[in-house]
């Protein structure tokens, strides 16, 4: 009987851990995917957000450690991301330059910058972002830990509908969609394609930088060189999965965050077999999404018409 009860709580624990992981692990996905969504809506792909994420994580951690203010770190991470965005935005819009190639270069450049400047910050402990504890009513520590929510998650939660509204009901939002869907039409309206794409890429990179801050200042809450583990690249797949819709980016991010929490959650209840397999869940999920959303016979609906073309 008793053994059964523990077993029951244990399985609840797995669900709880996954739910908590959904919010923790989903936060960086959310920011990067919203950033990528904005960038791709303007017709450019930024694979470099993987590098931006790392640079953001390192900058946030470093600034938080040096100044003692984690919020300053978050802002610095956004600015560092935006600076990388300027480079990508300018390079990828030069004649006969392919944005995927520039993106891969920017992954290497962004991670290189992060590793180079991040060396001194691997050891010290930087002040972390405060969390909002929604679980204080309960005395189960697992539940309390699970309900520690970062304000960054709430910020991301707010940005998704705001971005959706921006695309629908603001002049600038319509410009971004026009440039991404039909650059000729935008040019005929006298809109500067270069400027719109540049600003979209910068703003998208700013968001990705903040995503990095949530990695190093909230969860897992440290700075190592392997902290992003490909989340920036997965976010690109996630945007396709979300059909370039900010609200769906939110749900997709939560799904990926949950998939990421699967391995550690099972480990916590003592399931050791297949640990690496469960840890690989987000990658497997990415792979399956790519397989099921791609078809040689059918174009994906909702894709910006001029995505990835140079003009």
């Amino acid at each position: 009987m008793a053994a059964e009860a523990t077993q029951a709580i244990g399985w609840w624990g797995v669900l709880l851990a996954i739910a908590a992981g959904t919010m923790r692990g989903g936060t960086p996905f959310l920011f990067v995917s919203l950033g990528e969504c904005l960038t791709e809506k303007s017709g450019k792909i930024n694979l470099g957000l993987e590098g931006t994420l790392l640079t953001g994580a390192m900058t946030a951690y470093g600034v938080s450690y040096l100044t003692g203010s984690p919020w300053l770190g978050v802002i610095a991470a956004g600015i560092a991301g935006a600076l990388l965005g300027v480079i990508h935005g300018w390079l990828s819009q030069q004649p006969r330059v392919n944005d995927v190639a520039v993106g891969i270069a920017m992954i290497i450049f962004g991670s290189g910058i992060a590793f180079f400047f991040g060396k001194p910050f691997i050891q010290p402990k930087a002040p972390q972002l405060p969390t909002i504890d929604l679980g204080n009513w309960s005395d189960i520590p697992a539940l309390q830990a699970a309900l520690q929510i970062t304000p960054l998650f709430l910020l991301g939660l707010a940005i998704a509908p705001v971005m959706n509204w921006f695309f629908r009901s603001t002049r600038w939002g319509l410009f971004v969609r026009a440039v991404g869907d039909s650059p000729e039409a935008a040019r005929a309206m006298g809109v500067s394609i270069f400027k719109v794409r540049m600003l979209s890429i910068i703003a998208g990179s700013f968001l990705a930088g903040i995503g990095g801050a949530s990695l190093s200042l909230y969860y897992p809450g440290l700075w190592t060189e392997r902290i992003s583990s490909g989340q920036g690249l997965m976010a690109v797949a996630l945007v396709i999965f979300a059909r370039w819709n900010p609200i769906q980016c939110l749900w997709a991010s939560l799904l990926f965050g949950g998939a990421q929490a699967l391995g550690p959650a099972l480990q916590s209840v003592g399931i050791k077999e297949g640990y690496y397999l469960f840890n690989a869940a987000p990658y497997i999920l990415t792979l399956f999404i790519m397989i099921f959303t791609c078809s040689s016979k059918k174009m994906i609906s909702g894709a910006p018409g001029a995505l990835g073309t140079s003009s």
Binding site: R171, E184, A185, M299
Partner: protein, 514 residues
């Protein structure tokens, strides 16, 4: 000094006079526009005529501020105006409708209209905008549903929207660049007729670029003709005959060459298509159960507005697309357009946009001309290519088909559109035995000389017993060349007749899908 008149006062105002004085535009060493002047009086329908490359588009793009003229002046209402961009042109009440649609496909009609406005607010209050748009639509000459995304509109509706957009922007001078090239004759007459009413009521002036004399004589008041970048003539339409205008355009009096057809006696069916279905790139059905037979020594013309499935049909026949279901027989045997089958049944194709669909742009003219035969004797011995033979053969073809190229080694991508077309035609017609020729829009964007040459070659092939499937958006071309004409609409054949007994208005109606 530029003063923008408040929109409310424009409502009742007459369109201003537009005058272009001594305009010159050079692109490097090429003089695209040489000292051209033109006057568009208020409330007139003015046609701008000229062959391809005569400078019509350059002239209007200079007026619109896309290009900056090297010399010359634009006078609007007798005042000299500096127009730096299309936005400036919009401020002066000049709006342009382009040959290709300039609305954003993924957005709705309402979003496109609001977006096109210069002074659209930063935050859009959709309730208010919809109220205004509905009021505007109530007084507009034609109606387009506001809530529908552009990608779901038919071509005619898209073109109407482009014109509505200019009226919505309160443009008083409308420049139309071949606005009817994507419309059925009925749609074209409707749209131009409604614009004509606006002009007659002196609410608009119109400058229209057109190739179609029928439209010019029906709707226009005056014409200005350009030839090779220079002013070639001007006059009122009622004083000019079509022959006069054609003479001004080409600089010589020339009757269109009649292509002589030889009557064929034995007619074997070469191509047989049964209940063919194919999808578009986005997975939607494009060809919906099409059956046709093409006999030897016969040209079967397929007419239709672009986007009605003819592109996909040609792609299936050329092996560029897999059909969903249905059967294609050539000489009575199943045909899936593999290289082996093409060679066995002597099937040749002249697809549209040949540089993209039938050439390797970076490879030389000679290599491109050998694409069909390079792996067979005499151009190959085992797995080795005999480059000398390939080059010799190409040089013969270049002469025979009058391809203008610096040498056989020039990359084919460097050639002009007409010469790429000729080179591909040379490759496809050079074989001694041709059974089936599939041609799609073979004369799109070519000048008179090239068109005549290609038409001649196609008819000659027919006279030698080749079965020809000719898909074209140019109805006149189909009526002139084909023995039998079929209209495709919405992926299905809507009309079929021998060309001699074909009924023009029935063709036009079935193109529109009625």
């Amino acid at each position: 000094m530029t003063t923008v008149i408040a929109p409310t006062s424009i409502e009742i105002e007459q369109p201003p006079e537009l005058e272009v004085i001594n305009m010159t535009k050079r692109f490097g060493s090429l003089v695209a526009l040489d000292n051209v002047s033109m006057l568009i009086k208020p409330g007139t329908f003015h046609a701008l005529l000229g062959e391809n490359g005569a400078g019509k588009s350059t002239l209007v793009k200079c007026i619109m501020g896309f290009y900056r003229a090297d010399q010359g002046d634009v006078l609007i209402g007798k005042h000299s105006r500096q127009i730096e961009s299309p936005r400036d042109a919009q401020k002066y009440g000049i709006g342009m409708v382009y040959q290709h649609f300039t609305s954003v496909p993924a957005m709705t009609v309402a979003e496109n209209l609001v977006l096109s406005r210069l002074n659209s607010p930063g935050l859009i209050n959709w309730n208010e905008e919809y109220a205004k748009l509905n009021a505007f639509m109530a007084n507009a000459p034609f109606q387009v549903p506001l809530d529908v995304p552009i990608s779901q509109l038919a071509a005619g509706q898209k073109q109407k929207l482009e014109i509505l957009k200019q009226l919505y922007l309160k443009s008083k001078i409308l420049i139309l660049d071949e606005p009817t090239s994507v419309l059925t004759p009925d749609e074209a007459d409707e749209v131009l007729g409604l614009i004509r009413e606006q002009v007659t009521a002196e609410r608009l002036s119109v400058l229209i670029i057109s190739h179609k004399f029928r439209e010019v004589t029906t709707f226009a008041d005056e014409v200005t003709v350009l030839r090779k970048g220079k002013f070639a003539g001007h006059g009122t339409v009622k004083d000019l005959t079509i022959a006069d205008m054609a003479e001004m355009m080409m600089g010589e009096r020339r009757e269109p060459q009649k292509v002589a057809k030889v009557q064929q006696s034995d007619r074997l069916s070469i191509l047989q298509v049964t209940d063919l279905h194919a999808n578009k790139d986005n997975g939607l059905a494009a060809v919906k159960g099409v059956s046709l037979t093409v006999h030897g020594g016969e040209i079967v013309g397929i007419a239709g507005i672009s986007g009605n499935g003819q592109k996909e049909l040609v792609e299936v026949l050329a092996g560029q697309r897999s059909p969903i279901s249905g059967q294609v027989l050539v000489n009575g045997e199943p045909y899936t357009a593999t290289r082996v089958e093409m060679f066995k049944h002597k099937v040749f194709a002249l697809p549209e946009e040949p540089l993209r669909n039938a050439c390797v742009p970076h490879m030389s003219v000679a290599e491109n001309m050998a694409l069909r035969t390079f792996d067979r004797p005499p151009q190959a011995k085992g797995f080795l290519l005999i480059l000398k033979t390939i080059r010799q053969m190409a040089q013969d073809l270049i002469q025979q088909f009058k391809v203008k190229t610096p040498s056989a080694e020039t990359p084919i991508g460097n050639l002009s559109g007409g010469n790429v077309q000729r080179a591909v035609l040379a490759r496809e017609l050079s074989s001694d035995q041709i059974n089936l020729l599939i041609a799609a829009n073979p004369c799109f964007g070519l000048d008179f000389g090239a068109v005549e040459f290609i038409h001649g070659q196609i008819v000659e092939a027919r006279n030698q017993g080749v079965a020809v499937l000719l898909v074209s958006e140019d109805l006149d071309e189909l009526l002139a060349l084909s023995d039998r004409i079929i209209v495709i609409s919405g992926g299905q054949f809507a009309y079929e007749s021998q060309t001699e007994t074909a009924d023009f208005s029935a063709i036009s109606h079935s193109m529109a899908g009625h």
